[in-house]
């Protein structure tokens, strides 16, 4: 029964491996000091608005985030020094590294493609919106 249930979760939430890595990530965040944990949770929440879920790209992103804050907590770097004066700027620069699954990337391609068509430019493969 347990396997059936996990299988169902797998189909619903993506491959099991991703799910396992996500749980590992959550456990790592739980072990962080409160301030660091709050910061990671807030950054994770923000990342959802870019279309990241628990898919491969999203999980790698979260793991890198956990690395950064674990390292920061271990070396005593204050949260403010990790994220800087403008956390949004940091978050955007960080999230740009994980384009997979981000709706904004598809929209950017679509915009580029539309302008190319509008200006009658080449049928180049770059930036075409399908």
């Amino acid at each position: 029964m347990a396997t059936g249930w996990t299988k169902l979760l797998g189909t619903v939430y993506g491959p099991l491996e991703q799910k396992r890595r996500y749980r590992q990530y959550k456990a790592r965040v739980e072990r962080l000091p409160p301030g660091y944990r709050i910061a990671v949770d807030a950054l994770q929440r923000y990342s959802y608005y870019f279309g990241h879920g628990t898919a491969e790209g999203g999980v790698s992103m979260l793991e890198d985030l956990a690395d950064l804050f674990e390292q920061g907590a271990a070396s005593g770097t204050p949260v403010r020094e990790i994220v800087g004066e403008d956390p949004v700027e940091f978050a955007d620069a960080f999230l740009r590294n994980y384009p997979e699954g981000q709706w904004i990337i598809r929209e950017r391609d679509r915009l580029t493609g539309a302008i190319e068509r509008a200006t009658g430019e080449g049928t180049g493969s770059e930036g075409t919106a399908r």
């Binding site: 690395d67 907590a73 070396s75 990790i82 800087g84 004066e85 740009r96």
Partner: protein, 109 residues
Amino acid sequence: MGKQVTEMLKGTLEGIVLAILSGRPAYGYEITAWLREQGFSDIAEGTVYALLIRVEQRGFVDVEKVPSEKGPPRKVYSLNAQGQEYLEEFWRTWSFLTERLEQLREGGR
């Protein structure tokens, strides 16, 4: 550090970090600490970290994981041949930019 420096730094940080790595391999925290010492006191560790991930994805650096006494293993970054090439291009662009700006300051031609 003023807002203006922060803005200007954005476009050049990648080149700065690659230039630091051309001297010797380093991990993220060392790079941030060095930048702070040099007067870029507002630089966020996360910003440098994000940048290092990007240059790794673009194939400019080689990465080695080294265990640390406290916390997770550290990633030590070193500049590879492709990164060296990119850095040379960065310096050429930089020279172009500074020459033109200097001309403007001296009375705009």
